[in-house]
């Protein structure tokens, strides 16, 4: 399969483009009140579509922002879109601690001024057997890890979502143990495919998609791609993760997309691509086998699911 290319965009250019898109959105809305607020993307889709795999088609902004699993805003797919209006993603800091040279708290703006924002078009495969194709903007997690200067004893990275029950109504109920936590092995975290995303379709990350900054690990089930990150810890032992803690017989630490390892609730052999009628076959590592299979050559994937 084709390696997904990425268009390198300096952060400033990216911001300008975002302004341009916002400007055109405003004028489009003035021109025709009835037209959908999402329609403006149609004009510059080519930025993203040239990175597309031939069997894939971009999902629309509307699909990506109205059908979400983000239990902090409620357990229904439409809840994040409906309930995230009061969430304030700025100002934002990320605390770096654990096995690092110097634990510190970074201002998000400071992180962003030190990294290169790129376009990455990735397939997202949910453990519930649906999938989307999403044009993210973000930077490689490895860049932030270099800034964090982990010790050589650090073997794992843990991520923690913000806890603000007053802004995130789903957190007022203990559906899962808050705050949401996820983790990666160090080599997974350093893989060039792994990004921290700060936007999609050229917009700042919408609240319902994990504003202002979220993880995207495209070869793993969606729940690994933790949203609204406030803390990153470096550890020498495998960290606890939210879904694994809740139901270890269903969700493992690795959670690699794997059509051969079944989940007790969903067959993982096929998936429904949002917007398509018929199911399609699920690809090993969500189609990123070439890029990541080597990470697991010594691992029994049926045991470490």
């Amino acid at each position: 399969m084709k390696i997904l290319g990425s268009e390198i965009t300096p952060y400033k250019t990216y911001l300008n483009r975002r302004k341009f898109i916002k400007g055109s959105l405003a004028s489009a809305m003035l021109a025709t009140v009835t037209s959908s607020a999402f329609a403006n993307h149609d004009s510059d889709l080519s930025i993203y579509t040239k990175n597309l795999n031939e069997n894939d088609k971009l999902n629309s902004y509307e699909e990506i922002t109205t059908y979400n699993n983000f239990y902090e805003f409620g357990t229904h797919k439409k809840h994040p879109h409906l309930n995230s209006g009061n969430f304030k993603p700025r100002p934002w800091t990320i605390k770096i601690d654990g096995l690092v040279k110097k634990p510190q708290t970074f201002d998000l703006e400071k992180i962003l001024s030190n990294v290169t924002i790129e376009d990455r078009v990735y397939r997202l495969r949910c453990v519930e057997a649906w999938s989307m194709v999403i044009p993210w903007q973000g930077f490689q997690l490895s860049e932030l890890i270099k800034m964090a200067e982990p010790l050589s004893s650090a073997k794992y990275v843990q991520f923690v979502t913000v806890f603000r029950p007053e802004e995130m109504p789903g957190q007022q109920k203990r559906t899962i143990i808050w705050p949401y936590r996820e983790g990666l092995r160090m080599d997974e975290a350093m893989n060039p495919l792994t990004i921290l995303a700060t936007g999609l379709y050229g917009h700042e990350m919408p609240n319902q998609n994990g504003a202002p900054i979220r993880l995207v690990v495209p070869w793993k089930y969606g729940f690994k791609s933790i949203k609204s990150i406030v803390e990153i810890r470096f550890l020498d032992t495998q960290p606890e993760t939210s879904w694994e803690t809740l139901a270890p017989w269903e969700y493992g630490f690795y959670a690699n997309v794997n059509p051969k390892v079944n989940h007790p609730r969903w067959s993982q052999g096929t998936e429904r691509r949002i917007g398509e009628f018929k199911r399609r076959e699920t690809l090993m590592f969500n189609g990123y086998e070439k890029e990541v299979a080597h990470l697991y050559k010594d691992l029994d994937l049926t045991k470490f699911y």
């Binding site: 059908y67 519930e128 109920k173 079944n262 007790p264 609730r265 067959s267 199911r279």
Partner: protein, 201 residues
């Protein structure tokens, strides 16, 4: 006091009210107004409707113990048959729209996934109930045997609510509420049976 006639008169209205959601969802599905994942949405709505109707049939029996509502029982058959109607739509959505009649896959799915097993058995148990629902059938089978067959509604309700409970990933409030109602309705029946006067003699 509501008479049998009162309840019988309400039947056409009830019929339209209960039928209406299926027509609405079918229309929304065809016109692309069922959201981003319409097949999932359709399946969820149909299944939830079926479960609610099953619970309502159990409630009707309980309500008919209250003197002024005694005749409400005349509505039970229609609502029970509607429950079966919605279960059939729910099941065919799963078979046809969700899996495109891929029978090999579907059979595997039914065997391997407990929540689908629960739902499927619940559906199977409903078939004898629906097919023995006519007056003629009651006569042919005799009331005693007919009644025995219709005790199947209890495993149907329990399995259907378990089907929903296992499906939900987190926040099981809604399925737990349905299960709670079913358990209360069953406890009431057991209590009634234990306190029946002829048993005391």
């Amino acid at each position: 006091m509501f008479s049998t006639r009162n309840f019988n008169r309400s039947k056409p209205v009830l019929f339209i009210l209960i039928l209406f959601p299926s027509l609405l969802w079918a229309y929304q599905f065809v016109t692309g107004n069922l959201g981003v994942n319409p097949i999932e949405k359709l399946m969820d709505e149909l299944g939830l409707m079926a479960l609610r109707l099953i619970i309502i049939t159990l409630m009707i029996t309980t309500l008919s113990n209250i003197k002024p509502l005694k005749s409400i029982v005349v509505l039970r058959r229609m609502i029970g048959l509607f429950a079966f109607f919605y279960v059939c739509l729910h099941f065919s959505t799963y078979i046809v729209l969700d899996h495109f009649l891929d029978m090999k896959f579907i059979i595997q799915d039914i065997i391997k996934r407990p929540f689908i097993t629960f739902g499927f058995i619940s559906f199977l148990f409903l078939i004898p109930l629906a097919s023995t629902s006519t007056n003629n059938m009651i006569k042919r089978l005799g009331f005693k045997l007919w009644k025995k067959i219709h005790y199947l509604i209890y495993p149907v309700a329990i399995l259907a609510s378990m089907h929903f409970y296992v499906l939900v990933r987190a926040d099981k409030t809604e399925p737990v509420i349905y299960m709670g109602i079913i358990i209360l309705l069953l406890l009431h029946r057991i209590f009634k049976r234990l306190t029946r006067p002829q048993l005391a003699q």
